[in-house]
Each structure stands twice: as C-alpha cells, then as structure tokens.
Symmetry: C2
Subunit: 344 residues, 2 copies
C-alpha cells in the first residue's frame, strides 16, 4: 500500500469559516468519492467543526479533527500573531507537516501571518533564500503558473532563478508536462530591455535551459501572459502582485460593463434567454474560484493560501489543488530542479 | 483674435500611413467643422499627402504641408535614427515646436526614437529630470491618467513626485477638474507596504497635497485602478508598462472568450439579434481606440505618441487629444504645478 496523501486544513481561517471550509470539504469528498488515497486533517474548534460536518452530512473515515482553541484574526500583524499563535488552527495546521504527518497545509486566513508562521515552522529549503507566492492564471490553452505574486518586493537574480526552478516543478507536478516553458516578465521582448537584474537573469536562464528541466523562452510582456505560449512566468513580487490585481480589476470592470449592457432593457433581457447557456459557460470558464489558491514555494513543505473572502466552492478548488500538488510529487520535483540549478 | 491651436502631425509614422493619418484627419475635421481655432501642420512626402487629401476629399485652409524626404523606420534604434533623422517627418514634426510654431506634436512612429528625438529637440523642463509617458485609462466613472507607462524603468522619489505634478496638470487640462485625486500604485493600502522609495514618496505627496494642486489619496492597488475613485495614478515605468499591457491582455482574453461563447451555435447567434445594440454599445465604450495616444510629459512642449498599429479612427482620437491638451493649457498648468512642488 502506498502512503496516503495527507492534507492539513485550517478549518477556521477566512470569512464565514468553518461553514465554508466544511462545505468545500463536502464538494471535495463528492468529487473524489471513488478514491481512497487521501487523509484530511482538520484544525479548529472541534465542536463547531462537528456541527458543520453534521450540517453537510459528512461522515467519512478519512477525516481527522485536531482541536485548537484560537484563530488568527485578520487584523493581527505577523509580530502580534506569532506571540499568541501556538494554540491557533493556523499554527497547528502548518506544524502538522513537521515529521511528515501531513504533506501539505491549506489556510484561508491572514496572508502575512501565514507566510511568517510557515517560514518559522517549515524553514527555507537548502539553497533557497526567499520563498515565493505562486498562482494559477488562466490562458487560452489552459493555465499558467505565475510567481512571485507578492512575497518579495525586491528580488535578486538568484531569487528569480530559484523561482524559475520552483515554478517549473509546480507546473510539472500539476500538469505532468515534461518540459515547462518558462518566460521572464519584462517591458519588451528585445534583449536590451529591462533592468540589469532582468538582463542577467535572462542570460543565466538561457544557460540553465540547455539542460533538462524547462525551456526558457526569453522575455514576455504583460499582454501575452494569457496567450498560453508560456507555462511558467517569473517576476518579482511587486510586479507580479500589481499585474495579478490589475488583471482581476480589468476582468471585473469588463464583466460588470457587459452585465449592465445585457440587462439595460427588455429586449436585451429577452436575448439572454437564448444566450443563457453560452454566457453561463463563458462565466464558468473564467470563474475566479477555479484559480483559488496561491502556493508558497521554497519552504520544506508546501503551503496553500486560499483567498479569505472566497466561498465554499472556491475553497473546494484549493483543497483539490493541494491534492494534485502532492499527487504530482511537488517536493521531489523541486529537489530535482534545485539540484540541477546548482550545477550551473 | 486669440492665437490658434497649432498641431504638428507626423503624417508618415505608423502602419499604413499616410493613408490612416489623413483619414484620421478627415474625422477630426468633420467633428470640428464648426470650429476655426486650429491649424494642422502635416509633415511627410508632399505628393503622397496630397494624393490622400484628394482621396478623402479634404480641402481645408487650416492645413499646412511641410515636405520631408524620409521616414523613421520601425527597425531603427534611437542611435541609428538620430544620425539620419533630420530629414524625417518625425524630426521635423517635433522641431516645429521650437519657437512656438506648433503647440504640440503627434506621431505614430517608432516610440524609442520619438522619445529620444523629442528629448534632444525640446529639452527637459527646468526642475524635471526625467520625462514620463502618460496614458488614459478607462474607469467606471470616466478616465484616469496613469504615468509612467514605460519611459523610465527605475524612478526616484523626486521622479515620482514630478510625475504627480505632471499628471495632475494633464488631467486638469483634459477634464478641467479643480483638484485631481492622485494615488500611488502599490501592493497594499497600508502605510508599511512597498519599497522605501514608495514609502518616502507617499510621505512627501501627503505634504504637497495639503497645498492646492491635487488631493493625495494614498496607495492604490492594481484591482482598484478602474474603480474611478482616482484621477491620476503614479508609478514607475516598469510597473506601469506591465500593468497597462496586462490590462490590455486581460481585456482581449475576455472579449475573445465572450465572442466565442456567443457565436458557438445557431441559438446563441440568434440571441445576438436582440442584444446586438447592447453589445455594440458595450464594445464602443471599451473601444481601445478611444484611449489611443500616450503623452510625453516633462519636456518643453508636449508630444503625443499614437499606437503604430492603430487605424484611422484611433489616429483621429489622438489628434483630438492633442487639440484638447492645448486648449486646456497643459503647459501653463504644468508650470503652475512645478512651481508649487518646488516650494515644499
């Protein structure tokens, strides 16, 4: 018997928890009802969790509950939270990875605190100096991995090279693609464009690319992120965060405008009868809940951060993401990549 | 009689010119047929320009043609172009602002060359060390001004403060708003977020804001750029360029997906009969041609760069932008703002 995939879930983090986390769990169990290869370790108020398990009629022997007294609040800074965090669902959820009791941790709680706690407990991987926050980004052909999305506002060449190795490993674990195509986000495609850090990183990525782990494709500009010609897009956390949020804002702006246009009078409302399923499919494809879950990479264990305000369906996608990441052997892919990178 | 608004136009720059530039001119003349307060100075091959004027039945005594032998090509680098540029339509178009023969210059040609030539000929304004590229960005309530969009990949505090003053003046000249609301692009809204440069810039903008020229609103995140609560958004050229292109890419991705969904079968195509006008209005509102024209600010004269690949309608919008900028007294607004900024 192979070892089961063990996922530690902070049941209390984020808005409307544990209701949404447990309903998300229900969706996950429904989707994977035929499988028997996972264990779900829930951290939080045992009574409340049990109430919600009852509410959603979940009775599954793959679930373990670990009682914790308190919850990290959204207003806490990393400093105040760490002092009083050892009894929180978040701390215990991360800590469960120590000694391999869980393979991955998931929380929808306070991002800053999660990052600091994760780093404290799991420690950086040997040879990696900064952890990165990676995200999934829809494109014409499927999904990209983009990193860093905000963990590091300033990055060195070595940080960006590490991100290329970490991001490629993540992509490979998720999509079992032999050679992820990696691009470096810049403001032009010519070699002379960008900062010195970007130019030097690009030169070094070219050298690494001749080896086995990924194909380095050079620079990519913001307007091509969603073309589907790159699998992994590398950038510093400042630029990545602005790009991600700008894309979110643009998508919201356009879909709200579309909605306004299509409901402005009786005739257009009537037309919705005929385009209902097409528009539903359109909305479904671009549903941000599907991309819910940013992944902290570079620690001795993966941590997934669900959006705090997301609903139970969105939380389900992040549980599913955890399952896929472990099944795809993320950590061993990362170790392979890093060993390779250090040879150059 | 007040002095007429005098616009210098590079008739040869960009794809499909001078056909598109002259057709754009036709749209401008049609829109402003009742006005008599402008002069349009065209630079390029006289024969070709005359052919197109004939083609579009333009016979207007507000047009002057200045013959030039050559055109800056898209493949040229600023260095090669400057050596051989004195006979080009672009050089002469910019040079016409010297001694006040034109109030503004417009070109759809090579951006890099245009920036270098503009700086060489017009020189920096006293007290401004770097020019910025400003653009118009649609939002829920109208339009933002965003700068820098790519002229400077690294910016100091003073550069960003200059951009706030330049951008506010531009907004005021375009929208005659007494106090533009200025925000600084960052990855969070809390004071502790971002680089040291951003934190220090924010402190100084707060002090300036207590004065008369603009209201400083603090940090803004990428997802709020299009909310319409800020009029002027300040950022370095690297971040601004990535944000702008990411927004373009996202808009394209969504509208292409929508188009695919709405034309996938007979029923959805049928629904288009009823939503045709609503969708047309939707498309019209988001038409990127309306936002065509980035403005170089910080030189002793404004230069507008039209997108090279835009069509005649898009070029029309950039001629119209030139007209509005001069009518709104951009240069004197800028001088007023800079005088204010130097007091702090």
């Amino acid at each position: 018997m192979t070892k089961k995939i063990s996922i530690a879930i902070d049941a209390m983090g984020g808005d409307n928890s544990p209701d949404k986390t447990i309903e998300g769990l229900k969706f996950f169990l429904e989707k994977n009802s035929s499988k028997n290869d996972f264990i779900l370790n829930l951290f939080g108020q045992e009574n409340e969790i049990n109430k919600k398990l009852k509410k959603y009629k979940i009775n599954n022997n793959s679930i373990n509950i670990f009682h914790t007294d308190s919850v990290v609040s959204n207003n806490e800074t990393p400093l105040t939270a760490i002092k009083s965090s050892k009894n929180t669902s978040m701390w215990n959820c991360i800590n469960h990875q120590v000694n391999g009791r869980s393979d991955i941790s998931l929380s929808a709680g306070n991002t800053g605190v999660l990052l600091v706690i994760s780093k404290m407990i799991l420690k950086m991987m040997e040879g990696v100096s900064k952890p990165a926050l990676a995200g999934l980004w829809p494109n014409k052909k499927g999904m990209n991995v983009v990193l860093d999305l905000g963990a590091n506002i300033e990055c060195s060449e070595q940080n960006l090279i590490d991100f290329a190795e970490l991001g490629s490993a993540l992509y490979k674990s998720l999509f079992i693609n032999d050679k992820p195509k990696v691009s470096l986000l810049n403001i032009g495609s010519e070699e002379i464009k960008g900062t010195e850090v970007l130019k030097n990183t690009s030169k070094r990525l070219k050298m690494l690319s001749s080896d086995d782990n990924f194909i380095y494709q050079g620079y990519i500009e913001g307007n091509n992120i969603m073309d589907g010609n790159s699998n992994v897009i590398i950038t510093d956390g400042f630029t990545g965060n602005v790009a991600l949020k700008t894309a979110e804002g643009t998508a919201k702006f356009i879909t709200e405008n579309l909605k306004l246009s299509l409901t402005e009078n009786l005739i257009t409302k009537f037309s919705l009868l005929f385009s209902y399923f097409a528009l539903k499919k359109f909305k479904n494809k671009l549903d941000p809940r599907k991309y819910n879950g940013a992944i902290f990479l570079g620690l001795n264990g993966p941590v997934v951060k669900s959006h705090g305000g997301i609903d139970s369906k969105g939380f389900f996608y992040s549980i599913d993401l955890c399952y896929k990441i472990v099944k795809g052997n993320l950590m061993s892919e990362i170790k392979k990549n890093l060993a390779h990178s250090k040879r150059v």
